[in-house]
Symmetry: C2
Subunit: 287 residues, 2 copies
């Protein structure tokens, strides 16, 4: 009894508890996965703007001993273009560090001999340059924004209903994201629309697909429990990571809404006001 | 044993069986509910065109002792306008015989003090003339067709997310309908999109809502088992009617597709090539 008491008094047990929860878990981390939009920057006219403190926070993370990857559901621009945009905003980031849905979908198309009808933003088209698109036998949708006209969605619908076995790939399944003028509908909304119209189930590339998180883990050579995901999307970032055994922290920027903290099925392992605070909490535990 | 045998030989039992199933059930009918688009006419440029034989078939039904009502999910035009269009196509039809979703929704809006943001086709706007639309506290969507732009859907989404308790009314929940140039997405697809975006459940006016069929039954003063529904939409016309105890016959026109005859959950009580054949089968049983 006195031994146990001593242990508690010396903080041995409470330290073990802290290690399992945020931010104590940061002590044993070997890697961090960051979402991009809503964590590093807010998208919008003219390329968007960096979220206050995030350029400096990324610098601090890069200077630490933690490995770092970026998992984004960005599907409006090819990787080269949006990485260049982030560099212009001041972020230290390179293409090989970034995992995005389009390259994962392209690999699946090639492996399965699928020829896509594309309903994507023009900026994403370069990702599909080497893909045969004649006589389509599947449909790929991304965050097409204003290209999600009635006519374009109807065209995708007609391609799907014309196939004996409709195949629909969706680059993410997000509900909405935040631009500087407010919330905007994301690709998942149109995925649900086509799923209902054609009575099919889409195959989702990007978050929260477990395969997507696993490809980032594998690239770092780390186990799930050694890695922390930081995102603004409770379901796709935090919930998706948690389903792979990765801890998930939500930042109160981007598409964060207060009701997320009372979500019926997903509870973040921790929350922080923004990336700057999250990084300070992580690095503070590791000193 | 010999009595039973005699009954079978005289057809007593087989006649009882025939009365319960199509087309034998037509002998005891007192009323018929018809869908409009895909049964009487195919929509399309210039108001569409009558389906072969359907003008004459409607005349025969009207000349019979059967009561007749029309239940349509038409939500592109106000009743006066589309009834006038049907009259120009040669159909004997009047406004009071027609049940459509917008008037049912307007009644619910007024009863509950709801002020709608409308995402509907311009032609439907007259149905909402007497409704307060300032400072909206709900969203109503109809078959808005090309008005379902990204911008308009996003605007409806922003109204819903700005409400403490989002209320979404959908004028029908059809997946698609047939125009002369092919299948087109219907309002249900956009209802599913907004349901997913806002995590709400829409209230559906029109078929297959039981309240909608019941209002037509009540107007005729008939019981469900005295009435037959004829439609081209297996789920909304046939399945919706069946859930109210009304028998449902599917015609192989409009949005009918051969796969409907192998549908996992809805089986029509009967099928006919078109309205003309269905009416001949009904009246043939009643001679």
């Amino acid at each position: 009894m006195s031994v146990a008491f001593t242990r508690m008094r010396t903080g041995f047990d409470s330290s073990a508890m802290a290690d399992a929860s945020w931010p104590g878990c940061a002590r044993s981390l070997k890697g961090v996965i960051l979402d991009l939009c809503g964590v590093l920057y807010d998208s919008g006219e003219g390329g968007g703007s960096a979220i206050s403190g995030s350029v400096e926070a990324l610098k601090k993370l890069k200077a630490s001993d933690l490995q770092l990857r970026f998992c984004t559901n960005e599907s409006q621009a090819a990787r080269e273009a949006f990485v260049a945009k982030l560099q212009r905003l001041g972020f230290d980031i390179t293409v090989p560090e970034v995992f995005s849905p389009a390259p994962a979908a392209v690999a699946a198309l090639k492996e399965r001999g699928l020829r896509p009808h594309l309903l994507v933003y023009d900026g994403l088209l370069p990702e599909f340059d080497g893909v045969d698109k004649a006589d389509p036998n599947c449909v790929v949708i991304g965050d097409a924004a204003e290209k999600f006209s009635y006519q374009n969605l109807n065209e995708a619908f007609r391609v799907l209903t014309g196939l004996e076995k409709p195949v629909l790939f969706s680059l993410g399944q997000g509900r909405y994201y935040k631009e500087m003028d407010g919330l905007n509908l994301d690709v998942g909304v149109y995925m649900k629309a086509l799923e209902y119209a054609c009575d099919v189930k889409a195959e989702v590339f990007g978050k929260p697909s477990p395969l997507f998180f696993q490809s980032a883990l594998s690239d770092m050579g780390l186990q799930p429990q050694e890695v922390l995901m930081i995102g603004d999307d409770l379901v796709n970032d935090v919930g998706g990571a948690q389903r792979c055994g990765i801890k998930g922290v939500q930042v109160r920027t981007g598409k964060y809404r207060p009701s997320d903290e009372r979500h019926p099925t997903v509870t973040a392992d921790g929350t922080a006001d923004d990336l700057a605070q999250a990084v300070d909490m992580i690095l503070g535990q590791r000193r």
